[in-house]
Symmetry: D3
Subunit: 217 residues, 6 copies
């Protein structure tokens, strides 16, 4: 019997609750022939909020990618930490959720909006979008101004996301909304129902693309 | 028992051999809970080579999309015929293989190349890439100068694809190659093995994204 | 005596009142040696408001262009339906009014604004502008939120156009305004007088370019 | 009897032979109700080849535009000297032939090429195209490496233009060619016949647009 | 003893108070081995506010640059008058303060804002930014709506600059602010202290770059 | 007596010969009132050639920047490692040599070329240029295909640089050339003399900008 194929989804922060949230969000994508394994990066900070947090996880992430040698790897943090160094370290696909979330939004609507956790992340995200050369499709990015922890667990998160999502849709002209944090996953469906435009969970988007790449080999 | 979910993949030309080729290319993506149904558009021409061919299939395609009411639809022609009118006709996802092939290439490499069937299609493809606002990632597009029929069946197709792919990689700097026709699907793996860079079959790319969208509902 | 040269201006909707409005708007452009013939597309819908309306007129338009074999053809609908298929069908110039209206605005001011009939057309127009690769000159697009019929005939149209034009000029920084519908033609001069910046009727712009192309032959 | 409307076409160099060439090129555009008056700028150098030549004609051009008070003015030099200061000096349309030549090319083909007189002008033209925000439509620019005088009069000019035009079409992918000097006007039709793609004389293009603007008032 | 190296800083308006303001602003950049000589252009207008003002100083500026033959020249007006003709006239570096101010801002923050004197200059500045191909980094430009004279001397200038700078920072997302006039130099430090983001005096920026170019020879 | 102001120039590789080369290249920029201190990053690899090399030095660099608390810091590696995390860690200016080298080239010529050490770095550099939103000014990038060590010391380096520089100038149209490695510094003047267009050493460019920022405080 051949070894099962496997996609590694790494939560680069050390908050296991976020990892469990990813598992829940990814459960509908499960298929019998390709395992989806979610891992918490032990070396990660509790939340990735600063550029220093991003840099700190880069090499441990790379080491984990090499060690696990999965058929494909998804880096489940919207800053796509370590994306290029991981790609250098393995010939197998390594996908970042920011890239895949945005690319999937581009397949759903003319222009997209992004819900950020905090305003200070927006310049970092704009750098990514310019680097990707897709920024002309950005309708706007707006911040919840909550911490990663609050976003994942707080009672008011969905209400804030709906308010921000409406501004993206009605003021900025976004035809789809990307949730700019892996920790927002639980709210995707409710937010989409409320807004009436596609809402993209970037981890789901990346895992879907990874499944496709692994399946066709 | 709930009705099974289903992705409709439409070959807009009337060449059943191409449709069977799509079925073969998509077989590895099959999962038990979501059916992938490939359909030939009866009204389509034998091959879609001109803008007139594109326009002729647009409304029959739209009608088929509405009639079938699948959970998601993939238009399996690299000109993405009828994409916007189909999206207008249904709230469910409609994906074009040119869009999804290119977007998937953007998740694999810095710049991508495209293998076209004929040089006269290149301006049409450039219009699509500018419309998508991703053209700054294009390394180059080069043509086989073969007909759709020759491409699907001819003995020399793979050899020509390898030669063109090498030019895209070595002269133009492409880090990934998109096959610019649904009929090239059978050659993906051999071409990738030969070139040593990711080769994207756009129909596989689109169906992978569609599976993700349907799975998360 | 040589056959007179002739420009065909096609109103792709079946509303003869719009065609007569075009004739009135184009009367000042008349010159003795080149005829300007306005035609209603019999197969067109009463107004072109959706993508389906656009697609429905594409092939009848192409057939009319081929049948009439004018020295140049202008497609007088701001969605430029069938532009590329008509160009494929004849070596003679085929001009779209959206393209020509925007290009003429670029010769008058640094950035331009567009008055749309309805907000739902804006993503379609943005796709055109990105496809044309001129979107960095767009100051903004704003909608009247009236139907094509209301726009052509309603008493309040000019007042709404002035209000929207002022927003384009003062809030968005537009130095010229393009009227985003062939049916707005009657209001050009009054709107320009009111706004004090160039106002472009796209059908006049396209016919002026067509006259130049035909005259130099 | 109302004063006749009039378009002023200024040749900013002092070479009357070029002005007479413009008159010949514009003769087919003549219409009874709008005069096209070609003027040589007395203060101009014999040819405009350097940036200093451009700057030297700027204010004399502006003064001539103000003094003549035509209904519209065309600056017939491919460097568009004085375009912005002339626009500031009059509310009436002032058109530059480089802008109008390129904009007209955009209405004829997906990407355009430019035939320059000398390679040292190319950076200046690229600055114009970036300033116009249309550079993504440029297929390429190639130089004859002849002087303005040679271009206007030399026996070999057409042969060189054909050779350069073929490179633009076949190597660079240009679907239309803009002649990058007012002095090339006599060769437009022969070049177009030879290349089989639209060839744009920029002065004809600008005067056609000016006629349209003046006619609709 | 070798002749001392020297940077020429030209104030193209004839207002000596502005030149003395430049001297004060540049004093901190002085180094013993390279002189910084500020000159008023005798032929300049009292303030450069229009395109005609820009054009009037172009050739006198060029003549002064050639006559002085400094090791490097800085044109100290935010419209960068005569930049390209001066560069043509000498192989030595000629720097414009608008270019250098913006380029220095790009080394400090993700996106920058510009404080203009008057709104009517904004289209001119946008043309420069598109020509430089850096406009995707512009967060916004806002005007004080004061004259050059008021800006240099008026008591209320700093207060207006702070108000406009806050809008650039908070509404437009600017991470650095460029002062869009040489006459604002005296307010740089106070404005930076107030805003808490880098504030760039473009003349200081240009002279710093010129010093580097001259020093390395 | 106030503490002297100081610019820290960090060579992030551990090759002291490169650091001494930087000291030599920067000697002409020395001024009495601001010290320029070159440091070798002890933790760095012998050369930075891969993305992993880049990532490895990021946090040690950041720590050194914080520890030294210089008035400004220059990261002297053409990959600009750690640029954003260092900026987050201090309110004082942190400049990357790739950014500053390119920005300085933009002040000297219309389009620039880059000499890379190896072809595999080019996609990384293109990402930077897209992220900076200045890629429309890139004429081309070409590689020496030598190691960092060979480049710094080898006898043939200058000859290879001249050959590559000529291709950038003559084939790609570069009006200025950026040396894409801190270790090339010794060859700047000889290369510029040979090519006849400005050649930018990026470390000199960055230190010149840093001197300006520190001097004006």
């Amino acid at each position: 019997m051949p070894a099962a194929r496997r996609i590694l989804v790494i939560n680069p922060n050390s908050n296991d609750a976020v990892t469990r949230g990813l598992e829940a969000a990814l459960a509908p994508l499960a298929r019998p022939d390709i395992a989806i394994a979610c891992r918490t990066l032990a070396e990660g900070p509790f939340g990735i909020e600063t550029q220093a947090d991003v840099e700190r996880v880069t090499l441990p992430l790379r080491d984990l990618v090499v060690r696990e040698a999965a058929d494909a790897t998804v880096i489940a943090c919207y800053s796509d930490p370590g994306l290029h160094v991981c790609r250098e370290a393995t010939p197998r696909p390594v996908l970042g959720i920011a890239e895949c979330g945005v690319l999937t939004a581009l397949a759903r609507a003319d222009r997209f909006g992004v819900i950020a956790i905090r305003a200070r992340s927006i310049p970092r995200h704009l750098r990514q979008l310019r680097q990707m050369a897709v920024i002309d499709r950005l309708a706007g990015e707006r911040a919840l101004e909550m911490s990663v922890a609050e976003t994942a667990g707080g009672r008011d998160t969905l209400a804030r996301m709906i308010a921000v999502g409406r501004d993206l849709r009605d003021r900025d002209g976004a035809g789809a909304v990307v949730m700019g944090c892996a920790g927002m996953a639980a709210h995707r469906r409710a937010l989409e129902d409320e807004l009436g435009v596609p809402v993209i969970d970037p981890t789901q988007a990346a895992v879907a693309m990874a499944l496709g790449l692994v399946a066709v080999g």
